[in-house]
Structures are given as structure tokens and as C-alpha cells.
């Protein structure tokens, strides 16, 4: 329950932070900065993908655990900046789909974080319990095999999280491309 509340809190905090910062920018007459925060937010989110590259062994530097923590934080921070950039405007479809999909991806990410933590804790608990009961290693492994279904839930989750990311990436690419094409250089 605590973990669920924590995830929801992080999500709500992200949206509230964006609203407050956007309001402050309007208050001091610097709302134009929001336009350029989109660039900063995108760069931050892209930099969070070092974790994905490391997982796929495309890069070999960096500890996966540390990169995962960076992925979570940078994804959150980049999303806040992009929320400020988008503001509360209902002008165009493509950027809006990109923004909605970004929020869904973040929510999905928080769910994944929750599942991962649950799975790890659960497996550890079970291992300790079985050891205390006096089961042999073979029996422990057999028991854990079924419990690894929880880990399988994680894999299922990845099958949703990655395509959602692709939706975000596609619409973001279109948004950025059209900005570059039609910007007042």
C-alpha cells in the first residue's frame, strides 16, 4: 500500500510541479522560456535512455542499477520540463498526443518500478523462508521457479512499456520535425 501511494504521489508531484513552475513563469513575464524548455526536457529524457542502451549491451559503461535510477529521475525531470513547455493549451493534435503518451509512459514506468520492487522483495522473502524451514537448495530453486512468475509479470509489463515509448517517440519526432520545418528562423 505504501509503495502504491508513493508511486501515485510521485506522479501527482510531477504534474503539480509543472503547473506551479509554469504559473511562476507567467507571473514574472517569462512564459517564452517555456518554448525552449521543450528542448531541454527532450535532451534530459533522451539522456535517460543510457539505461536502455546498457541493458541491450549497446554500451558497456555504467552500473545498470545506477543507470536505472538515473533513468527514473531523468525521465521524471524531463517530463516536468516538457509539461511546462506544453502548458495548458489545446492547439494541435500531434504535440498533444505526444504529451499524453509521455504521461502514460511515465505512469507505466512507475508501475514497472512498483512491480520490480515487489518481485525482488517477494523472491527474497521466499528464499529466506524456505531456508528457515530447512528446505534443500534444489527444493528452494523449484519453489522459486514458480514464484518467478512475478518476474514474468515484469516481462509482460515491458511488452506494454516499450511500445508506449514508441508512440511517444513517433509523435515527438513529428512534432520536432514540423517545428524545425516551420520555425521562424
Amino acid at each position: 500500500m505504501k509503495k502504491t501511494i508513493s508511486s501515485i504521489f510521485i506522479f501527482i508531484l510531477m504534474i503539480v510541479s509543472a503547473i506551479v513552475l509554469d504559473y511562476l513563469l507567467h507571473l514574472v513575464g517569462l512564459k517564452q522560456i517555456g518554448r525552449y524548455l521543450g528542448i531541454v526536457g527532450t535532451i534530459i529524457i533522451l539522456s535517460s535512455f543510457f539505461y536502455s542502451l546498457r541493458k541491450r549491451k549497446i554500451i558497456s559503461f555504467g552500473a545498470p542499477k545506477k543507470l536505472l535510477q538515473n533513468h527514473e529521475f531523468l525521465g521524471w525531470a524531463g517530463t516536468v520540463l516538457i509539461l511546462i513547455h506544453s502548458g495548458i493549451h489545446f492547439n494541435a493534435i500531434i504535440p498533444w498526443i505526444a504529451m499524453i503518451s509521455m504521461l502514460i509512459v511515465v505512469a507505466s514506468g512507475l508501475i514497472g518500478k512498483f512491480l520490480y520492487k515487489e518481485a525482488k522483495d517477494s523472491l527474497n522473502h521466499l528464499r529466506i523462508e524456505l531456508k528457515n524451514v530447512g528446505k534443500s537448495e534444489e527444493e528452494i530453486e523449484r519453489e522459486l521457479h514458480y514464484s518467478a512468475l512475478m518476474v514474468s509479470a515484469m516481462q509482460q509489463w515491458r511488452r506494454v512499456h516499450l511500445p508506449l515509448n514508441m508512440v511517444l517517440v513517433s509523435f515527438a519526432i513529428w512534432h520536432i520535425a514540423t517545428i524545425l520545418l516551420y520555425w521562424r528562423w
Binding site: H89, N91, A92, I93, I94, P95, I97, R159, L162, P163, N165, M166, V167, V169, S170, F171, I173, W174, H175, T178, I179, L180, L181, Y182, W183, R184, W185
Partner: protein, 313 residues
Amino acid sequence: MRSTHITLFMSLLIAGIIFWISPYYAINPGTLSGGHEKLKSECSACHSPGSGIPSEKCLTCHREGEIGKGNSADVGIKNSNQKNFLLHKTLVSEDCKTCHTEHNGFGRENATLNFTHTMLNPDINRNCQACHLQEKPNTDMHSYSDKCGLCHIQEDWQKAKFSHSILTDAQLICRTCHNKDAPQSDFHKTLVNEQSCAECHQTSAWTPATFNHEKHFVFDSNHQSKCSTCHSMTDGYTKYTCFGCHEHQPEKIARKHKEENIQNFENCAKCHRSGDEDSTFNENSNSKRKKNSEKKEKHHESGEREKEHHEDD
């Protein structure tokens, strides 16, 4: 992994289709102003993909040299705006984006950025009346000078600060502008010439009045009189007489002064700045009094010697 690729491809395709159906609703960053509403589906009417928004695109509809004469659809005097016309003829920068923007809302005012006078040709910038002649108030105050900048600033026209320094000596007649401000007290009613105002008032600040009686005469215990004792209500306060008091009789005063060999004693306060008869401000008067007092002393001395001589006898 396969589903990931399929999702990527499908998303890109869907986004492309949305853009193809309606570029305006797909990517427009804000509502177009009313006059450009009809260009909703023609992004390339203003945009050159990859090279921004060149002014040539604007001039396709807004013909150069005729901006301000009418709208782009019907060039004529229907919506003629002389100020706009002159403004566009005198701009320093010919890039329309310097002043104009779009996708900022329906209202026409949203399409114009904050105007600053630095956008104008410097010669025009100095000549306020080139654009603002009709706004120039038709008052006496505004007839004194054509140099609006002497009192006004471009950033805030209303914050005018009038300075009397713009007036020539011939124009510095207080009552021309301030006649209705003149107090109606007995004191002020007697002041009829312009020099009278300047005696006590400054152009930098009308109040407090700077009149200092001690400049002319210092009051003392003998001279705590009313104004009317020395000044005539009909002649004004620049004129005075000391003969209003019983102490000062014309014959007595004349005799005393002639004894001192002082011939010009019409203007008492010129020498007597206070009731103390031994204090005078006039050097000539002092020197005369000194000579006379020396004479008196010599006279006294010679008188005493004679007396002694006679006593000796």
C-alpha cells in the same frame, strides 16, 4: 521486440496521416489572427519550410508602399490609416517579423509585437509630429514649442514633465497661464506686474513661496506693525513708506539726514535694513556717516581745546 517496431511504424504513419489531412490542426501552435484565418490550410502562404518566414511572403498580399492604405484584399481608402502608412514607409528594418508575429490569438492586436520608436528612421523618430500631429493638444501650453521631447518621453507619453526652460524670456509671463491660479487675497491683488510673482515664487515649484521680508527689512520689537502701516493697499507691496509711524516725520527725517550730508533718503530700506539706526547695509552711507562722525569728533575735540584755552584764560 517485433511489437515495438510495429508500434513505432504505425505511430509514425498515423501522425503522418493526421498531418496530411489537416496540417493546421496537426501542428498549429496557436490560433491565427482574424485576417489570416483564410490561410489556415495554406502553411506555405507564410512559411518557407526550413527557411523561416521571409518578408517576401508577407508582401505577396500586403503590397509594399501601400501598407496602411487599405487591407490586402481591397487596396483602397476604405481602411486607410495615415499613421500606419507613414510608419511603414519609415521603418529601419524591413523584416516584417521585427514587429509582427502570428499564432497568438484571433485579435489583430495579438499579431503586433510591442512597438518601440527605435524601429523608426532616426529623422522621423525625432519629429514627433510626423505621426502624432493630430494628437497634439490645441492649448496655449502646446503652442510654445514644436519639440515634444522637452516635456514628453516616448516610453510613456502621459508622464509629461513641463519645464519653464522651454519658454523664451518673452513667453515667461506668469499670468498668461497661471492667471486663474493667482490667489485672490488682498496681498496678491496688489501685485500687478510679472516681476511681482518672481519676487516670491520659483518656476520649479510654486509653493512654498520664497518671500523673505528680512531681505528687505528685518522686523524688530519696534516694527511689529501690520502690513498696512508701511505698505499701501492701493500701491502694492513693492512700495512702502516709513512715514506711517508717528516716529518718522518727514521734516525730522529730512533734517537728520541733511545733517549727515545724506541727500538721497527716499528709499529708507536701502540703508536701514532694520530699526537699529546704527546699522546700515549701504557702504556709501557708512562712509558718509564715518566722515561726519569724524568731523563731529574733530569738532568736539576742537571745541574742548577752545574750552580749555578759555579756562586757561
